[in-house]
Symmetry: C2
Amino acid sequence: MFQFKILKQSKKSKARIGEIKTPHGKIITPAFIPVATLGVIKGGLDFRDLELTKTQCQIVNTFHFLDLNRAEEVKKFGGLHKFFKFQKPIFTDSGGFQIFSLGKGAELGLGKIGSIFPENNIQKKKEGGKLVKRITQKGILFRSPRDGREIYLTPELSAQTQIKLGADFIYLLDICGSPLDDLKTAKKEMELSHWWFERFLRIKIPPTQQVFGIIQGGIYKELRKTSTQFVNNLPVFGIAIGGALGKSKNDMYKTISFVNRYIDWQRPHHLLGIGDLEVLEKIIKLGIDLFDCALPTRIARHGTALTFKGYFNILKNQYKSNFEPIEKDCKCFTCQNYSIAQLNFLFKAKEQLAGRLLTIHNLYFLETQLEKIREKIEMGKL
Amino acid sequence: MFQFKILKQSKKSKARIGEIKTPHGKIITPAFIPVATLGVIKGGLDFRDLELTKTQCQIVNTFHFLDLNRAEEVKKFGGLHKFFKFQKPIFTDSGGFQIFSLGKGAELGLGKIGSIFPENNIQKKKEGGKLVKRITQKGILFRSPRDGREIYLTPELSAQTQIKLGADFIYLLDICGSPLDDLKTAKKEMELSHWWFERFLRIKIPPTQQVFGIIQGGIYKELRKTSTQFVNNLPVFGIAIGGALGKSKNDMYKTISFVNRYIDWQRPHHLLGIGDLEVLEKIIKLGIDLFDCALPTRIARHGTALTFKGYFNILKNQYKSNFEPIEKDCKCFTCQNYSIAQLNFLFKAKEQLAGRLLTIHNLYFLETQLEKIREKIEMGKL
């Protein structure tokens, strides 16, 4: 039912083209996994919109389903694919990222790699930072960002919830650390994660779902080595590189390169939570097959488009009479039907349509960039 | 280019089926005109969504284009139809309604008919109420709800702006009074409106646009009579019944009935700002051909669906496992693809998709109700 095949290995780099077969169709890698927090891509997109974006798959956040207390209803309806009318492969994360994003990340205003994007600071700090109450051997005690009630996330609950949700790919519960963690903390977090992995894998997982393990260890080579070898030995379909990735993009590349010495190359590699335009080629050259990131869709809702020249802020007043599309050569629904001036107007008018249209563009644009990268690999140019 | 033809006159009531021809296709009346405040229906709907709703036309608010200061850009692009990709007939109101909605309506927390809907109170009061600074012979001085700057709306500016926007149907600038106005105030407002109508009509209007006059006079018969006769004599395509309509639905029906004694029956009649499900049949029986209302789309964004049994609040927790569509027999995109439980989830998750889907349903549902009413008129049953 599931299979990962490497279709083409670059000779110039670790880049490769792969194919992941699932009960919901295949994913051609390297592939971007858009974030559909609570089952749908934010910004009001429906399943028809997603068909317009060429999106191959999506990742859903288990923690938010626990928070909303609605995993049971999704199960009753037949799982995420049916509930949200998305018939392509779905991933669910484990909830471990929220240990960072609602915990240290929020307290310190940090992103996964230091803080690449200024908006991370603003957004995270706003959320408070006191939502991770306690991490014990058993699990993590969260305070719900929605209603303040306690949520006790354990590896068992993560597994059971992900089984209810019924995604094609599910993730072991880990502790996502902070880039500022010292060796001792990072080691403790890694060891606890490994213990949780074992407990998670004791739960019987249906054959319609496959598991990704997660390499921890923060910025510490000895830990990354241990964790990579540990995860290699787990009976998991894919391997994710998780946790803190350093204080800069360069740190991140170094971490991946180091992990690459030990990682199992026969399994798909997922770089968790990273996927902006600027790092795309570089991480793919480091052998990353899958990457998810909320950035392309989040910036879309706030008026920033992805373009060949990088990020483009459509909100500036000077664009109110610019009747060109965002990208002349872009074949997306938005560029084919709307100009910069129209989008600028809709943003100024605070119409939800604005964010929806830009989300469609950003997702489509990323996909076309990936098509080009895959073509480069195919032609031996990357 | 424009024509109004009465296709069928009921013998049982003043109800009639009509056809309005425009350069952007025809409208079969009685017809509902959804409110597209700034050119698009709120809730993130695009032009494809609207095609799914059977919506025949829409009305856009001139005041908000002045407030946003973007009429010029719309003109440069070729007008509202092109700018917002809506190729059906468009109406623009004059800005006169905001004299009430940002003025007395906001101060007193009132709707056009007293206050039928409790949410009117909440919404209006929130907006402040000090946004109408002065009404003089020349025009109205507004304070922008957006940025606080002064906007001086005159009949000439209303006409020029509506010409720039390029809707098929434009409206004379009137003063929309309050249901609490005394005779003296209502008379002054009516006389000023009439004076503004004459000034408005001195502006040259392109042959691609037709004008609606507006009957004023509040709840006072002598004023309504005068105003009806005045508007009958204007060279306008259609006649709207505007202004305050009393303190109850019954007051409103009485006002329409009274106006009906004098109104020109060869022209289409538009009841301004009223159009909820409950009054539909009654106002159509009183000869109303057109009616616009923000209610069906506004309540949709807040989780209330239109159904055969009336208003249905989808947010209640008890619906989280209700996997039936809103209406089993409804052929709308939403009912064909989503259940109540899914919509309930999307609202709880605060996903914009929720409001968008419910807006599609409400608009479609209203259209099917109107089809049924037109069929009743056709069969001599109404």
